[in-house]
Symmetry: C2
Subunit: 152 residues, 2 copies
Amino acid sequence: MTIELKPVATVKNSRNEPIDDNWESIIAEIELASHIPTEAFNNISDFSHLEIIYYFNKVKEEDIVFAGRPRGNPNYPLVGIFGQRKKDRPNTIGLSTVELLEHNGRVIKVKYLDAIDGTPVLDIKPVFKEFQPQSDIKQPVWVADLMKKYWK
Amino acid sequence: MTIELKPVATVKNSRNEPIDDNWESIIAEIELASHIPTEAFNNISDFSHLEIIYYFNKVKEEDIVFAGRPRGNPNYPLVGIFGQRKKDRPNTIGLSTVELLEHNGRVIKVKYLDAIDGTPVLDIKPVFKEFQPQSDIKQPVWVADLMKKYWK
């Protein structure tokens, strides 16, 4: 079974290369693709946060892995790809929860989107409080270590 | 530009028809597709929550809309599709934050997955605390009304 998707929008920002850290200062614009009417963004400013599902289009098929140490760090455990968020994964889909800063016609401006310039966007969803985790989040210790400089 | 994806797993549960509400009691199994090795789930139990990105494969192309009143409710405002989470959307992608209940080989058992039996899964990501919203979530009043019976 093959699923065919068409980007609904494109990311525009100042980062042209995939870099692991320091995403805090990167503000991105997301512009609707030509086949999506402007009304798709109607009233989007009623929400403070959005989920952006995007496509890591620069990942090569041969780079995709099914398990490994996060960032190749020998101090981290061997973890299956579905216990990691790295881009070199089956289907190479990315997902970020972003803050919506501004909406202007066919463009929204967002913070905390860790995708580089030109990234195709597959979907945009508003964050509902009712879909947030309803219990405490548990995660292994390597996550906090890996994320130390992510939002800097 | 067309993006081709292949399901990495399939949802198995007791719900065969798309129904809007009462998802609380639905426990789902997610089983890896045959081309994904079992190691892709290694150490996934270190996490309490996962993000499941899936494909609403029953939606017909002609049902997809770009704006409308959520659930067709005349009391709700006209909202663009990217300010709603309904399934009849460009690319028909769904996204749920679920609780991981159990991991057994090629199968995980989860709660709060609002996808019906047979739904193809596109990706599975662990929830990192560091990717949660860093500020208060704002949403319009219709959301709480629409979600009243969702988790019942």
